[in-house]
Symmetry: C2
Subunit: 151 residues, 2 copies
DNA sequence: ATCCTAAATGATAGTTAGTATCAGTTAGCA
DNA sequence: TGCTAACTGATACTAACTATCATTTAGGAT
């Protein structure tokens, strides 16, 4: 009856920081809860704006800790500041809506299998990979068809 | 006898710019030939340093034209300025050596096929994808095994 | 060949995104 | 309750661009 889902409660980002041996401060509480309560991917500057009571340096430092710990993904959106999103699954890839910037996470064994098979084709030793799928998300598709019906 | 390779000569980056309706200037000649004669991927700032006679704004502008035209790839190396490399194949992906930054290009139909099959799994409409494989390149592997033999 | 003009250049100033410094504050432990 | 290393945040700084604009130039017209 003591299933894994009961034992392992969702670890908050603040807990992640504690587990790194870092102190539980009010600034860190503010940053991590803002990230967890926010609905989507965000940039460092956005977070700074949303948390004027926390110093910029602290916001950036906290993000860096979380990225290093693997609790946040850093997504390089070309032309502009990188976005961050909570890493919910260990190894995964991202979908990014080119219209609205919504970020999704996915994992598919086929992708991983193909990666392994590429080892033969590629010179040197593979140490990792990254992949982003660019999409127009459903809500952007919906609003697109709205405006096209006006024309 | 008039094979395609004879008709279609390797289009230089300067020609790419001309084809965009841009003028053939000495600054553009300097930038494009430096890129073509350089051996590997480069950053914008590197190019500026190598071409002190060309204004920074012009270097950046020229790079942007070439990226827009698809003649250069812009690679987001996390933490730092993006690197650029000449796009030799239409659609392709990159290998990046984490040790020395060497950039390679590859294309494999399996990857593209998997992408198409992912359409079912993913919400929204796929518009494109990107993929980077991180490697330790052969020359970095060689120098690694050198130093380990010292220990 | 020379003139004309829009295109291009490059010095400089400005912006954005992030890092370093460091005096003051605070968490967590004794 | 006090101690001290960890942490904070104001400020200054740097890196990587981007905007401005007076000056120069490519390339077509004559
Ligand atoms: Zn969207
Ligand atoms: Zn993967
Ligand atoms: Zn290498
Ligand atoms: Zn592809």
């Amino acid at each position: 009856m003591t299933t894994e889902s009961q034992v392992r409660q969702e670890p908050s980002l603040l807990t992640t920081l504690e587990d790194l041996g870092l102190r539980k401060t009010s600034a860190r509480y503010a940053v991590t809860s803002r990230i967890e309560n926010g609905s989507d991917a965000f940039t460092a500057e956005e977070l700074c704006r949303q948390l004027p009571e926390v110093g910029r340096a602290t916001v950036y430092r906290t993000i860096r800790h979380l990225v290093d710990a693997g609790a946040l993904c850093k997504l390089p959106i070309l032309d502009g500041a990188p976005m961050y999103s909570i890493a919910r699954v260990e190894h995964h890839h991202h979908t990014i809506c080119s219209k609205c910037g919504a970020v999704g996470e996915f994992r598919h064994s086929t992708v991983e299998r193909v990666m392994r098979s590429l080892a033969k084709e590629i010179d040197g030793q593979i140490t990792g990979h990254k992949m982003e799928i660019f999409i127009t998300c459903n809500s952007c598709l919906a609003s697109e068809s709205d405006s096209s019906s006006d024309a």
